[in-house]
Structures are given as structure tokens and as C-alpha cells.
């Protein structure tokens, strides 16, 4: 790989141990994937934040880096931790877990990372433009940035994203290059998609089938940003899809030629079977919405649905803290709380230790959450659209 004079110096250790090691990581990854050079990135999203996923080894690594004076060079935002960073006690998060989680946050903060604590950085001010090179981890955000915005990022892991943040560059390979953004398979959809959960089910089904490819969807008549957010998240969870195109909807679709591709057909029957497969329980202990994190629009819609109603079971709407603050000012949080629900900031169902908090059956409208909750959180899942789920828990 071609390296600039400055990059050679970093690799020789002239800019310190931390940069040398992190830059070496980028060079090796670049070598493995055949990158020709490094390219500057406009922003970074760092995943691997919850103590539940990275454990003590991750915490020690981050504290070591922060202690050695590591500082990010480009605007860098952060994924959700395993708890609400303010209301964790009241919500019942375990004390030992919270202590470790706060140490992780401190280490990230020391490195100059913005404590956005959300999987939807694009909703809270880290919004790349079309064609911009970025280095993001968090598979749902990667999918959104590539597919809905047309920015360019590979599916980074936590450490490689952190390395990009500290070095300001990423190796030029994969989805940074035009030729790898072409569709690999066409998906013809013959089904009505109304709710976010319909998009979640379709995403889950297609992710399983295409695994790592770039699907090109035909027959999807319309979708708002929240639905595309749920759609990409599910595909990235059940498979490893980092980029999809939707004919007539996503910005790069018109540049692509879907002819001569293998075709997968998906109809109402496949979606119904997917919903049945994702449903492993019946009566929920809790309903958790906001995977990926809810937008202000989604919170407003839910608040209105809950107006004048009373919940019999806990309901969490997970979102970014800044979105919660706006929703508080606009009165939506009070509306949700009056019905007995909570707007939970920072964390989400997937990365929080809900299995240690007395919950065994969780209802979700997210294909991504339905994919991970049985394994990560030992939950039985009730999967459905938001109206069906609310019906189960409203008095």
C-alpha cells in the first residue's frame, strides 16, 4: 500500500506508541483487503461501548489508550452503552454493571469522543453527505449511511473505527470503491409494507438469504426514513448487508443496472412465515421500542397513541439523549409517562442486561432486536407491529 511520508513516520513510531499501533492496525486491514492507500474520513462512529459486549478486556484496552493520551482527529460519535446514563438506578440497572459502564464512558470521553450514545448518529448531528468517506461501526448506522444517504463506509469493528478516529484515515477498499457498490442480487417484493415491523420482517428475511451481498429491491412503493432505518438494521443483523438499493427511493439506485442479476421473490407468505419464526413468546413482560433509536417523529406518534391510555406492563421507548431532551421540551415525554411508559435514553434492548432485570419475554417491532434478543438477552420475543404490541399491554 502507498503511504505518505507522514504515514511512514507514524508507522516507524515517531508519533508515539498509540498512533503507531492503531495505524498499524489500519495498514494490516488495508493489506488484507487489498487497499491501495489511506483516505481521509469526514467522521467516525465508534461501536463496542456496552460493558455487556466488550467486558473487562475491552474496558482495560480503552483505559490503556485513554491513559496514554490518545485523542481523536476527526468528529467522532459513540454507540449506545448498556444503560441509561442518567436514570439507570431508577430503571433498575445493576450497580456493578453501572460502575464498569461509567468507566468505559470516561475513557471514551478522555479520547475526545462525543458522548452521543446512540446507534443513529445521523439523527443527532453526525450527518455525512452523499459520497463522503466515513469510517463507521454499528451495522445499522453503516447500512443507513451507505444506502439511504449514499455516504461510503465499510462495516468497521469497534477497534478499527477507533483507529480511524485517532488517525483520521481509513484504508481505501470495499464500499469506498464504486465497483463494490453495485448490486449483487435483485429482490422483487410483492407484499404490502405498512408498518416499521413489516420492513423489519422483510429485512430480516432478505439478510438471511443474501448474507454479505448488496441487494437491489424492486416493488417497494414507498418508505419513510424511519422505515428504512428499521429495514437496514434488520438486514445487517440477520446477515451482514452494509449497502442496499431500493428502486425509486435510495440515491444510488438510479446509477445501477439490475439486469442480469439473480432474482429473489418475496411475497406476503414469506413475510408471514418470518413473523411466525421471530415470535417465540406470547405474553410480554415489557415492550421495548426504538431499535434503532427512535426519531423525534416516532416518539411523537407513539405519544399520541398513548394519550389518555393506561399501560399494564412496562414500555420503553429507547432513543438518543438529545432526542429525549427535545421530546421533553415538546411535551411528548410527559405524555408517554402519563400512560405509564418511559422514554429511555442512551441504551437499547440489545445491549442492556435486561435478562438481569427480571424480564423474560420482550415485545418488539424491530427485526434487529428480534434477531438478537434470544441470544444476547435470553428473551422470548413477541414480534409485531406497534398497534398489535400496544393492544397486549394497554389496560
Amino acid at each position: 500500500m502507498y503511504l505518505t511520508k507522514e504515514e511512514e513516520r507514524i508507522l516507524a513510531g515517531e508519533r508515539g506508541e498509540v498512533l503507531e499501533r492503531m495505524f498499524r492496525l489500519l495498514v494490516r486491514l488495508g493489506d488484507i483487503y487489498g487497499a491501495d492507500r489511506m483516505i481521509p474520513v469526514g467522521s467516525v462512529q465508534v461501536a463496542g461501548v456496552s460493558y455487556k459486549s466488550i467486558g473487562d478486556p475491552g474496558l482495560e484496552f480503552l483505559e490503556d489508550m485513554a491513559g496514554k493520551g490518545a485523542k481523536v482527529r476527526v468528529p467522532t460519535t459513540l454507540n449506545p452503552p448498556g444503560m441509561d446514563l442518567v436514570d439507570w438506578r431508577e430503571l433498575g440497572f445493576p450497580e456493578d454493571f453501572a460502575k464498569k459502564q461509567l468507566c468505559i464512558m470516561e475513557a471514551f470521553k478522555k479520547m475526545g469522543i462525543m458522548m452521543t450514545a446512540t446507534c443513529t448518529p445521523y439523527l443527532v448531528g453526525n450527518l455525512p453527505r452523499f459520497g463522503e468517506h466515513i469510517a463507521w461501526s454499528e451495522s445499522s448506522a453503516v447500512s443507513f449511511a451507505n444506502s439511504v444517504i449514499g455516504a461510503r463506509t465499510n462495516r468497521e469493528g469497534g477497534p478499527s473505527a477507533l483507529a480511524a478516529a485517532l488517525c483520521g484515515v481509513t484504508p481505501n477498499y470495499g464500499l469506498h470503491l464504486d465497483e463494490n457498490r453495485k448490486p449483487s442480487v435483485a429482490v422483487k417484493v410483492n407484499a404490502e409494507l405498512k408498518h416499521n415491523s413489516d420492513f423489519g420482517a422483510l429485512g430480516y428475511h432478505v439478510g438471511k438469504l443474501v448474507k454479505k451481498g448488496n441487494p437491489y429491491f424492486q416493488g417497494i412503493k414507498g418508505a419513510d426514513v424511519d422505515q428504512l432505518k428499521a429495514f437496514g438494521a434488520a438486514m445487517a443483523a440477520s446477515g451482514a448487508v452494509a449497502l442496499y438499493h431500493v428502486e425509486g427511493l435510495t440515491p444510488e439506485a438510479r446509477l445501477m443496472d439490475p439486469k442480469n442479476l439473480e432474482v429473489i421473490e418475496v411475497g406476503e407468505r414469506e413475510l408471514k412465515e418470518t413473523c411466525e419464526k421471530l415470535n417465540t413468546g406470547r405474553e410480554p413482560d415489557i415492550v421495548i421500542l426504538g431499535c434503532p433509536h427512535a426519531s423525534l417523529k416516532e416518539i411523537a406518534t407513539l405519544a399520541n397513541k398513548l394519550e389518555g391510555k393506561r399501560l399494564r406492563k412496562p414500555l420503553w421507548i429507547c432513543t438518543a439523549r438529545t432526542t429525549k431532551e427535545t421530546a421533553t421540551k415538546l411535551g411528548f415525554v410527559e405524555q408517554v409517562e402519563r400512560a405509564g411508559g418511559k422514554v429511555v435514553a442512551d441504551t437499547c434492548a440489545v445491549v442492556s442486561p435486561i435478562e438481569r432485570m427480571g424480564f423474560k419475554r420482550t415485545a418488539v417491532n424491530s427485526g434487529k432486536a428480534a434477531n438478537y434478543l434470544p441470544g444476547f438477552c435470553k428473551q422470548e420475543v413477541i414480534f409485531g407491529n406497534v398497534n398489535e404490541l400496544l393492544k397486549k399491554v394497554l389496560a
Binding site: R21, L25, I32, G48, D56, P57, E60
Partner: protein, 123 residues
Amino acid sequence: MISPGKAEGEAIVSKEPIGFYGGIDPKTGVVIEKGHELEGQSVKEKILVFPQGKGSTVGSYVIYGMKRNGVAPAAIVNKETETVVATGVILAGIPCVDGIDIDKIKTGDKLIVNADEATVGVG
């Protein structure tokens, strides 16, 4: 070379890929994956030889944690190093080479790994 350095030690060979997250205990260096051919064996201070990594990207942090806890292998030799292992050995500073014909190596062989020159020799 994936990660620089030199090491000598006894080989422990796995024909199967190794997933470090949930596969090896970062506190003891013992393989804990159920049914894995190395289950119950320690990789501490050995030259760990396996075709490639597998599984969760958190595995990189497990490799780093093993090093911090003093139970890491002295070096790693792969047929083809993928990103989880590459990330882990670079973070941890464990010598690692790939592109090696590992079929010729047997558990118990004394090996000399010179990652700087991408060579694996018999000691």
C-alpha cells in the same frame, strides 16, 4: 507479517478455526468452546497455530485481554489471518504471521517465529 516480533515456544495446533469471544477464557487462556478440538487446553505461552479466526468482532478484545492477563500465546501462526485476529494481535502486540502451510506443523513441535521476516522455523 500481520504483527511484528519474535517468539519461541511449543506449538499447539488446531485444524479448526478459533473464535476467541466465547471460545477462549481471557482470564486463564483455556479453550472453552464446547466440542472444539482444543477444548480444555491452555494456549498460554504456546505458539498457537490455526487456519483462521471466526465469530464476533469482540474476539479482538479477548486476545488483548489474554495478553494483559499474562495468558496469551507467545505468537500466532495462521493459514489466513482475518480481521478479528489481525485486530486483536496488533492491539495486544502479539507476533503473528500468516500465509503459512500449517498442515506441516504438529502439536508439541518446537517453533521459532520471526514475524518481522514472516518466517516460522523448527527450533
